[in-house]
Amino acid sequence: MAAEKSPVLFERTSALTDKVTNYCPGCLHGITQRLVAESLDRLGLADTAVGVSPVGCAVIAYEFYSCDMVQAAHGRAPAVATGLKRARPENTIFTYQGDGDLASIGMAETIHAATRGENITVIFINNAIYGMTGGQMAPTTLPGQITQTSPYGRDVKAAGNPIRVCELLSSLDGVALAQRVTVDTPSNVRKAAKAIRKGFEYQREGLGFSIIEVLSSCPTNWGMTPYKALEWLRENMIPYYPPGVYKDVKAGE
């Protein structure tokens, strides 16, 4: 008798390729990337999706997603996504960007795509550091945080203050959804998945710009074990960047 197939309990979501990622052990990119792919699959959007990969640790995300992908210049993903969306409004367009890309060199593109109500979904990975270039101070690096370019800790008098992106964008009329989540625990992963799905649903409904900020860890450049990094995230990042819904045009409905 032929061996009976055991039931599939868990499998790679089809919006991801079988390419092995380049992310460091303990980094939360892998989880977030998968949540984005799962959302596209669950909503039946993968066939019409075009993703925009940034410059940063996710630069080769175009190899990980099985939908069409475009690689953008540093910070320009929202502008590239604007071009993609305006050319083919029927497609689902998302960007996947880190904090340096989105909140520093690409801040103009971010704010203006948001205020135009550009009908795209932005996945924003905030890990308070530049990962790919080896751990420099980011626009979201916390006060006092030690990085390669803030070796004595971020001195806000000299280096300025961190930017809270969701709070900033929530004042703009074009924003349909601005929500901050994290993926440090299974229950938070579920909340993040829901937020990301909501972003894509809002785009499908044509409601405008959606941004889901995901607080993430960088064990390699923070110089911590993955477990310790999660503790540091909870103790330091969450108080400064509280998870929550900062703008939701459908709130109260």
Binding site: M69, A72, A73, A79, G83, A87, R88
Partner: protein, 369 residues
């Protein structure tokens, strides 16, 4: 073909772009290209297209990058300082093999410069529109009719070779009015398909990737070399120049765009005096029409490049002449347009055997009355 209508150069270019099937325009305000953007703002939304005023030149060119990746004909227009800012995006378009039209209505520089006509962006356009090994097509109209014709050609060449194309004009051509015959419109749906575009897989194919990154050096070199082979092929078959009175010319003036209109008046005046002078007018600046120049080297004794710059295209003339004949230069910069009388003086000096690189600042030409 339709009847001739009187149009501004900038508007003729815009209308011709629409007739070439372009429905997407992303730009940022700058003088002296304003009529072009204004025309698009008026027309495109009425025909289901996109006119979008971007937050910056940088954003505008990256929107062009995105729309081109999605497979549509798309363009932006700007002027010198704005084109500097677009350099990043143009380099990425080259690296990702994306077509798209960039219009540069060249003004005086460097820096904020002036808003007067200039050809001082020749080097930027033909040598380094951005970082890396790469080129864009550079087309140089000299009439309002050519503003329209070259817009169509720029889209066709760009799509055929998967490269950005630039129209390098100036405020003189952009704002002057001339009769123009518009090409027949193309329906965007009738344009050849772009199977490489990121249009969504529709579940029917493997994913397409538009990308300029390669972390493996050998892969990147292979990509750069493939592109370079394309460039060599283009240099073989896509050079365009207009030749006037070159058959018996002892001196050949080389001038493009607005400068060629002034040079033509001077060449015609010289001919009236019985002087054997001709003109080569490059229409493609990249690829530069080296063959036309090589051909006339057999008969011409000398060359004179006339430009609205301190002497940029003259480098390409010298490369094409390759030491076989003396090459002189005359030009104005900063937005000043030379008079035909000044050019005629330069022509006579060159015919007399002098070899020079003259700018008014250090050697005022006596133009006579």
């Amino acid at each position: 073909m339709s009847e001739k209508i009187l149009m501004k150069g900038n508007e003729a270019l815009a209308e011709a772009a629409i007739r070439a099937g372009c429905r997407h325009f992303f730009g940022y305000p700058i003088t002296p290209q304003s009529e072009l953007a204004a025309y698009m703002a008026k027309r495109l939304p009425k025909m289901g297209g996109t006119y979008l005023q971007a937050e910056s030149e940088v954003a505008a060119i990256n929107m062009v990058y995105g729309a081109s990746a999605a497979g549509v004909r798309v363009m932006t227009s700007s002027s010198s300082p704005g084109v500097s800012l677009k350099g990043e995006g143009i380099s990425y378009m080259i690296g990702a093999d994306l077509p798209g039209l960039i219009v540069n209505i060249n003004r005086g520089g460097p820096g904020l410069g002036s808003i007067q006509p200039s050809q001082a962006d020749y080097w930027m356009a033909t040598r380094a529109t951005g970082h890396g090994d790469g080129h864009v097509f550079v087309l140089a109209p000299s009439t309002v009719q050519e503003m329209a014709d070259l817009a169509r050609m720029a889209f066709d060449l760009g799509d055929r070779y998967r490269m950005p194309a630039m129209i390098l004009a100036d405020g003189l051509l952009g704002q002057m009015m001339e009769p123009v015959e518009m090409p027949d419109p193309i329906n965007p749906a009738d344009l050849p398909p772009k199977p490489w575009a990121t249009t969504g897989t529709k579940g029917e194919r493997e994913h397409n990737i538009v990308n300029s990154l390669s972390l493996v050096s050998q892969v990147l070199e292979d990509m750069v070399l493939e592109r370079n082979e394309r460039y060599q092929r283009i240099k073989e078959v896509e050079q365009i120049a207009q030749l006037e009175h070159t058959e018996d010319a002892e001196l050949v003036v080389v001038a493009y765009g607005a400068a060629s209109r002034i040079a033509r008046s001077a060449v015609n005046a010289a001919r009236e005096e019985g002087l054997k002078v001709g003109m080569i007018r490059p229409i493609t600046l990249w690829p530069f029409p080296t063959k036309a120049i090589e051909d006339v080297c057999a008969t011409a004794q000398a060359f004179l490049s006339v430009e609205l710059s301190t002497g940029q295209m003259v480098d390409d003339v010298k490369l094409a002449v390759s030491g076989r004949r003396p090459v002189s230069f005359f030009g104005h910069s900063g937005g000043i347009v030379p008079t035909p009388a000044e050019v005629l003086v330069a022509i006579k000096k060159a015919l007399a055997g002098e070899v020079f690189h003259i700018l008014p600042f250090h050697s005022k030409l006596e133009a006579g009355d």
